[in-house]
């Protein structure tokens, strides 16, 4: 454990954890929202990718990270609308549409990225730079880790408690929880099941898209094909492990990010070993965690089912 040797390396490590966790947390919060409403959002992967593509396009065309953020959110919003229309509106099998969306977004972003970004695809895009929060950032260890981050990471700090507050402390959150468990009951008291589900799906996609924006605008500053690289799936695993509770889901995301940071360290410190052995680690960790903890967890009862009034 040489990497834990001194403070600066520790700070470095935990900053990495936080940076790696941010896109997953965004996507996982999206997953919580959708699944609480009874929609299994398998297309988080596509949403991250779509958000990343939108962010890259916006940043490239408008030359500012804010432009990138707006484009990224818009692109994810569009994906969300398509999904909501297909799954909630037409009532097509949720899993099918979501996997189709993933495939479509992968192809579409790759194609459009080459068309739009073209030869500039490898040049660095404008992004957000870290903003130090005075006073707080001077706390030893915690300060530089938590309070010397980019604006999107601060947004994440806000979103976790916000999501919790929304789900458990507002009437809308109550509607969402009811719909995910027993939609008929919600319908009979006048809560619109399709409406709320559609909103949740779209919001979920936008959150996933924010994760993609973060990747492009705060982390790597380029768009590459399939750059989501499984983060959407890890987010879904985090949703299950976190038992659909935003606070616990956040912890699960940190756990995954930790294993990712760990594998990067291992790669760095063991250049002789093929890196793929280590890049497996987060997936193995997700797998093991799921198998160990997931079996006894009860998901929202109506998840993945289409709601038809008066239907059987």
């Amino acid at each position: 454990m040489s990497w834990a040797g001194d403070i600066s390396s520790l700070v470095d490590f935990f900053s990495t954890v936080l940076r790696l966790s941010t896109p997953i947390v965004f996507a996982a919060l999206g997953g919580v929202l959708a699944e609480r409403a009874g929609v299994f959002n398998v297309s988080l992967e596509g949403c991250i990718l779509g958000g990343a593509f939108g962010a890259a396009t916006g940043a490239y065309l408008l030359g500012t990270p804010v432009g990138g953020l707006v484009f990224g959110i818009l692109f994810a919003f569009a994906i969300g609308c398509v999904l909501a229309g297909l799954a909630v509106g037409l009532g097509i099998n949720q899993l099918v549409t979501r996997i189709a969306i993933n495939i479509l977004v992968l192809g579409l972003t790759s194609y459009l990225a080459r068309l739009i970004l073209g030869a500039d695809a490898t040049s660095t895009l404008p992004g957000f730079s870290p903003v130090e929060i005075p006073l707080l950032s001077s706390i030893p260890v915690i300060g530089p880790v938590l309070f010397n981050q980019d604006p999107l990471a601060y947004l994440m700090y806000l979103l976790v408690p916000l999501a919790y507050w929304f789900l458990y402390r507002t009437p809308w959150g109550l509607n969402v929880r009811a719909i995910g468990d027993y939609p008929v009951a919600a319908d009979t008291v006048g809560v619109s099941v399709p409406g709320i589900r559609a909103v949740c799906v779209i919001a979920s996609c936008v959150l996933g898209g924010l994760g993609g924006c973060y990747l492009v605008l705060c982390q790597v500053f380029v768009f590459t094909e399939n750059m989501s690289a499984g983060k959407g799936w890890i987010a879904l695993a985090a949703v299950i492990l976190g038992r659909w509770n935003p606070a616990l889901v956040f912890v699960a995301c940190i756990f995954f990010a930790f294993s990712e940071a760990l594998q990067l360290r291992l790669q760095f410190n063991n250049p002789d070993v093929p890196y793929q052995l280590f890049s497996m680690v987060p997936f193995v960790a997700s797998f093991v965690a799921l198998v160990a903890f997931a079996g006894r967890v009860r998901p929202p009862a109506a998840i993945g089912t289409k709601y038809v009034r008066g239907g059987k």
Binding site: L174, A185, T188, A301
Partner: protein, 508 residues
């Protein structure tokens, strides 16, 4: 006539080619309890769903306090002061009482002020003499309590007109009186109550007026006081109802075919649903199991047929301990047949054609297959034969069974479960949702099977049915058999006491 209250004029509703409601008129004055009586499929529930905005009528008018209204959605119904309590309780079990009450409430703003709502709710509950903990999660409450939560839910929304759809069907007899008392209190508070039921005694006990529906039309509208229940029954069914005890030849055999001892099992939630049940069934005997829904009957049937792992106890068939046998073994080698309660969910595969549903039980045996190969042609022939002999009405055996009526579906299930010549036949709620003709057909089949010497376990919540076909009646309450008696000694007081859990000496 007073304009206060509800008035329905010429309400009609058609589903496909089926006329569910045909020009229904009804007047319910403010502050009265109005019962709607009718058999299954008479259109009671459709009518109430129209009142609550879940369906739109094809014709007719709804007047509330004299003003014609279009009730376009449940939300609109609530705005008009209409609250509905469904037969299946519409509560989200993972949420607390107050959360359920507040769900969908308008004008809450951004904050969910549960504490404040809980206080108001408690005050409201007290004013009606209900005692309830607002922060309890619903799944922890007994059925009678949950129903109170439902009632509080509509009261909390200032409902003036409360519709109750077969509210007592989920209650234990001991809870019914308390429930009826609650209705009287609501009436005293000026609420208007529409109360759907097919239980005459409850109607007689609490209602002011009664509208009787038959096949979608009003067959009578009369004051309850002064109308004898038998008169109501006649109007409901359309002919004199005699509790027919079908011709029964006394049991021939004394051979005990089935011996159950101290059977224990848990339900899906892990609660002890069967707490040690023992009984015998002789060859050619029908043992009825009566009781309120959810007292372990489903678990008993499943434990017998192997669908549920018994925790403890033994099941013996002709002296052989079969407790460890698999479902397949029980069905094929041991000859246990099962007519499940849930036709659509368990007994049939709705998307498959009729003839394939006929082979669900024995598709691995002749004549449906030989070796690993299906014999489709011969399966069709068998199915056609059954369809003829059991009078299943359909267009073709190639038709998906989804399109058959409930009665015809049930006849096919019976054909399938009986034609294999079982030794033990377990039947669960076979007449649910069937019309009188189909019920009679079902009971004839059951009695023919008895004649053949099959041991039959007949589980039902319809006491009338049980008393008319069974040789002995076991009453279940809270996972135990509280008594086994013969139909002749089954007075309603005695059975009521047993259903309510007052155990008496076992007559094994």
């Amino acid at each position: 006539m007073t304009a206060q209250g509800l008035r329905l004029e010429k309400i009609s509703k058609t589903f496909g080619d089926f006329k569910a409601l045909d020009g229904v008129d009804m007047t319910v004055p403010q502050g009265t309890v109005h019962a709607i009586l009718g058999e299954n499929g008479a259109g009671k529930t459709t009518l109430m769903n129209i009142l609550y905005g879940l369906y739109q009528p094809d014709g007719g008018r709804i007047l509330i306090d004299g003003v014609p209204q279009r009730i376009t959605s449940p939300r609109r119904a609530m705005e008009l002061g209409i609250g509905m309590i469904h037969q299946h309780l519409m509560l989200v079990e993972t949420l607390t009482v107050v959360e359920n009450v507040v769900l969908g409430l308008l004008g809450q703003g951004m904050r969910l002020s549960l504490a404040e709502h809980a206080r108001k709710l408690e005050a409201l509950a007290k004013s009606f003499g209900f005692d309830i903990d607002p922060h309890q999660e619903v799944w922890k409450l007994p059925m009678g309590m949950r129903q109170r939560v439902e009632i509080l839910k509509v009261l909390y929304r200032d409902a003036n007109l409360i519709i109750l759809d077969e509210p007592t069907s989920v209650l234990a007899p001991s809870e019914v009186e308390g429930f009826l008392e609650g209705l009287r209190r609501l009436r005293a508070a000026g609420k208007t109550i529409i109360f759907i039921s097919h239980k005459l005694d409850e109607v007689a006990a609490v209602a002011d007026r009664v509208t009787v529906l038959r096949r979608g039309a009003v067959s009578a509208d009369l004051a309850v006081a002064g109308t004898p229940p038998s008169e109501m029954a006649r109007m409901m069914v359309g002919r004199d109802v005699v509790l027919t005890t079908l011709e029964k030849v006394p049991s021939k055999s004394d051979e005990v075919l089935v011996r159950i001892r101290d059977l224990k099992a848990r339900d899906n939630r892990g609660n002890q649903a069967l707490k040690g049940v023992s009984f015998d069934i002789r060859a050619g005997e029908i043992l009825g199991v009566a009781g309120v829904d959810g007292n372990g009957q489903a678990e008993l049937a499943e434990a017998l047929t192997g669908l549920r792992q018994a925790e403890d106890g033994t099941v013996e068939l002709s002296g052989e301990d079969v407790s460890a046998a698999s479902v397949y073994e029980r069905r094929h080698r041991l000859g246990i047949s099962f007519v499940p309660e849930d036709r659509h969910g368990t007994g049939l595969v709705l998307d498959l054609p009729v003839y394939q549903n006929a082979m669900i039980r024995d598709f691995r045996e002749a004549p449906f297959s030989s070796g690993p190969m299906l014999r489709t042609a011969s399966a069709r022939k068998v199915a056609e034969d059954w369809v003829n002999r059991y009078d299943v009405r359909l267009q073709s055996v190639e038709q998906p069974i989804r399109f058959l009526s409930g009665g015809n579906q049930q006849k096919l299930i019976f054909a399938r479960e009986v034609e294999c010549r079982p030794r033990l036949l377990v039947i669960m709620q076979p007449c649910k949702g069937l019309d009188v003709g189909a019920i009679e057909a079902v009971h004839r089949t059951v009695l023919a099977e008895r004649e053949r010497g099959t041991a039959i376990l007949y589980i039902s919540t319809e006491l009338e049915h049980i008393l008319s076909v069974c040789d002995r009646v076991a009453v279940m309450c809270a996972g135990r058999i509280t008594g086994i008696i013969s139909p002749e000694e089954a007075t309603s007081e005695r059975i009521g006491a047993l259903i309510g859990g007052l155990e008496e000496e076992k007559v094994a």
